[in-house]
Every structure is written in structure tokens, then in C-alpha cells.
């Protein structure tokens, strides 16, 4: 895969991820209003000690109207990402995702915000300085973060006895905020299936650095990864992780050649 093809595919997939993220927040924009849960006049209190210029800028950009404008900009940039090689759309998408995370005290949707930032930054660098060391560095950074996201997560779980014994999967499925269906919970509460699911996932996560070895292994692990994220999206509703992670896959494929 050439650098240009990798960047184009990252842009397409990041466009999907960023568009979904913006549309979802626009759907629940009442929660961002002054009468809503995430009113800026509440969230902004934590910046009371920040320099005045930052507070004024934040009040302007991150209030309800400003935030809705940011989200519309993000949506527009996301739709433009696959259509033009101009550097503006990825930079706008990056800035909008960062502003959203900033408004929500660091993150709105956890790791998916981070991966989307990484991918849009890589695309922005590549389109600002096409076919340069900067572009290759941006993809290297995205590929490195992708590998680490699986490997660190797998190693961290391996250190926990609940994961090694297979008892963690039923506990995660029982967490009420994910509203996992009763059928799935019943199936994966069985010890044999729980252990099988656990060790399959741990083997995938801890073995993911092998994707750098050659393109065939990379494709295989990416296919497993896509299925893993799709399963998480269906079972837990973690839809943003699916699109944010596969948007980084072309960077890994470029570097695995």
C-alpha cells in the first residue's frame, strides 16, 4: 500500500467516524444547552483559575451555540475528508474533536476520542506535507498508537486474576450502563465460553504487534480486529470505537509492508 493510498483510506474511514460523532452529539444537543446536563456554565467553572483570554475564548466557543457550530463544522469537515486532499478538512476535524473532548472535561466517549484525534492528526500532517517524512511520521505515530492500544490493553488485563480465570467477562457484561442483552449475558456466563472468549481476546490483543511483521499477518489481525470491534459495537453499543480503530488500520498496513 502506498502512502497516498493509505492516507486516502484513513481519510474516508475517519470521515465516517467524525461524521457519526458529530451527528450523535447534534442529536442530543439539548444536553449541552444551558438548561441541560452538560451546560457550559457548569463545566466551565473548573477553568476559573485559567488565564482570562482562555476563559473568554472558551465561553464563546464552548457555550451551547458555539458548541453546536463546532459540531456542524466537524460534520462538514468529515464529509469533505474523502472528497478533497486539501489539508483544511482534517485539521478542522482534529480541532473540533479536541474542542469537544475539552468541553466534556477531557473526553466524551473515552478511547474513541483519542483514536479519532490520532487518525485526523495523521491525515492532516500527510495532507499538509504530502509524500514527506512528516507524512510518514504521522502514519508511523498512528500505527504505533494502534499497536499499543491493543498490546497495552491486553497486558493490563493479563495482570488481573479475574481476566486470567475468565471471571471478568461475565462481570463486564453485567455492568448496567452497557445494557447487554440477556441472551448474550447468558451465553458468556458459561465458564467454558467465558474462558474461551477471554483467552481469544487476550491472545489477539497481546499478539497484535505481530501485525508489523508482514502484510499477510497484518491483514489477518486487522480482520480479527474489525470483527472484535463490530462485536463490541453490537453487544455494548461501542459504535465509535469500531470506526475510529479501523480508520487507523491503513497506517498499520503501510508500515507492515
Amino acid at each position: 500500500m502506498t502512502l497516498a493510498v493509505a492516507v486516502d483510506w484513513m481519510a474516508r474511514l475517519a470521515g465516517v467516524a467524525a461524521a457519526i460523532a458529530a451527528l450523535e452529539l447534534l442529536c442530543v444537543r439539548d444536553a449541552l444547552a444551558d438548561h441541560g446536563v452538560f451546560a457550559w456554565r457548569v463545566l466551565g467553572r473548573e477553568l476559573a483559575g485559567a488565564p482570562r483570554a482562555i476563559r473568554v475564548l472558551a465561553d464563546t466557543v464552548l457555550g451551547h451555540r458555539g458548541m453546536c457550530s463546532v459540531l456542524v463544522l466537524q460534520l462538514g469537515a468529515a464529509l469533505a475528508l474523502p472528497c478533497t486532499s486539501h489539508p483544511a478538512p482534517p485539521w478542522i476535524a482534529f480541532a473540533a474533536v479536541l474542542l469537544t473532548a475539552f468541553r466534556f472535561r477531557g473526553t466524551y466517549n473515552g478511547g474513541s476520542d483519542s483514536m479519532l484525534l490520532i487518525v485526523t492528526l495523521a491525515v492532516a500532517l500527510a495532507r499538509t506535507a504530502p509524500d514527506s517524512e512528516v507524512a510518514r511520521g504521522g502514519l508511523a505515530y498512528a500505527a504505533a498508537q494502534l499497536v499499543l492500544s491493543y498490546f497495552v490493553s491486553g497486558v493490563a488485563k493479563l495482570r488481573d486474576r479475574a481476566w486470567r480465570s475468565g471471571r471478568a467477562v461475565p462481570r463486564v457484561l453485567a455492568l448496567p450502563q452497557y445494557q447487554v442483552s440477556d441472551r448474550v449475558r447468558a451465553a458468556l456466563t458459561r465458564p467454558v465460553l467465558a474462558r474461551l472468549a477471554t483467552w481469544s481476546m487476550l491472545a489477539f490483543e497481546c499478539g497484535f504487534p505481530l501485525a508489523l511483521a508482514d502484510a499477510t499477518t497484518c491483514w489477518a489481525l486487522m480482520a480479527i480486529g474489525a470483527c472484535f470491534h463490530l462485536a463490541n459495537a453490537i453487544v455494548f453499543g461501542l459504535n465509535r470505537f469500531l470506526w475510529a480503530w479501523i480508520a487507523a488500520y491503513p497506517a498499520l498496513l503501510y508500515w507492515s509492508r
Partner: protein, 173 residues
């Protein structure tokens, strides 16, 4: 590629460190730690109860109702993700209260630790003044009928039954 890996590993390890600056803390999405579900413990839960007019407060119920459009949530899940954001706020409140209690323990030196018995928030300005506390109050308000008095509480997993961790005063809607 190797240089990128070294930088990323270093930043990922540093990402575990807490930062005191609210500005820097809000930028933490740039430095992910990637430790998903590394410790599987039960989550604190937010319950609410309400009463119309001067009547008695009703039974406690969870703010986690059945969500709409579940068949397409692998693609588009605005309400699921909003609910997860609400849960993050509740988790953050428990964390902030733990830090408050740790700070108090450091002050009086008796080292009792956090979370022993339910804390009643009413009348404690240090608790009520937390941004997390106000956000949780707003989440609770969003889950009761308009114009009703309500009360919320955060419960934490325990054996044999969940324990009250923090109980709010009764709030006018």
C-alpha cells in the same frame, strides 16, 4: 517507525499520571493510556426518587432506562453514548469525593480512608460545590418529571447488597 514507538510508549506510560491542572486534564485525550477494563469492578449507580407537590418521595429507581433504537446501535447510538457520558460523570463524582476525603484525612492524620458509610451531601459545601455534584444533580433532574421535588443517591457495589455512597438533599425541580 521505531522512534515513533519509543515516543508513544513513553507518553502512554506517562498518561497514567494524574495532572492537577484542569486545563491539562481536559487535553488528556491527546495522551491515551489504553488500559480498557484493566480492573473489572462494579460501577457506582445513580438512583433517583421524586414526589409531586408536598407528597412523599416515591421509590428509588435507576436513571438507566431502556434505550431506543438498539438494533442499529452498532452504527449510530447517540443515546447509548450519552448514557455512558452520564455514567462517566457519576464515576468522576465518586473519584472527586475520594480525593476530598483523602485530603481531609491528610489534614487530620487519622487515615480513615474514603467511603466508610453513606455520606449525606446536604449542608456540606465542599461536596455540594463540586462540579461533578452539580452535573449529577442535573442528570437526576433530567430523569424526573418536570415540576417535581426529587432526591438522588449514588450507590456502590457491595456484598450482600449495594451500599449508599452519597445521598443528596431533596431538590426542587
Amino acid at each position: 517507525m521505531l522512534a515513533a514507538l519509543v515516543v508513544v510508549v513513553a507518553v502512554t506510560l506517562l498518561a497514567r499520571r494524574a495532572v492537577s491542572s484542569p486545563l491539562l486534564d481536559r487535553m488528556r485525550a491527546l495522551c491515551p493510556a489504553w488500559r480498557f477494563f484493566d480492573r473489572v469492578t462494579g460501577s457506582p449507580a445513580l438512583l433517583v426518587r421524586f414526589a409531586a407537590g408536598a407528597g412523599e418521595l416515591g421509590p428509588w429507581s435507576s436513571v438507566l432506562g431502556k434505550r431506543r433504537g438498539r438494533s442499529m446501535r452498532w452504527l449510530f447510538a447517540p443515546h447509548d453514548n450519552l448514557a455512558l457520558a452520564y455514567q462517566s460523570v457519576v464515576d468522576r463524582l465518586v473519584h472527586d469525593l475520594g480525593e476530598l476525603e483523602a485530603g481531609e484525612d491528610d489534614g487530620d492524620g487519622d487515615g480513615d480512608g474514603a467511603g466508610a458509610g453513606a455520606n449525606t451531601a446536604e449542608g456540606d459545601p465542599a461536596v455540594v460545590g463540586l462540579v461533578s455534584y452539580e452535573l449529577v444533580t442535573r442528570i437526576a433532574r433530567a430523569h424526573v418529571p418536570a415540576g417535581t421535588r426529587f432526591q438522588w443517591k449514588v450507590v456502590v457495589p457491595a456484598e450482600p447488597a449495594p451500599e449508599d455512597y452519597l445521598v443528596s438533599g431533596v431538590v426542587a425541580a
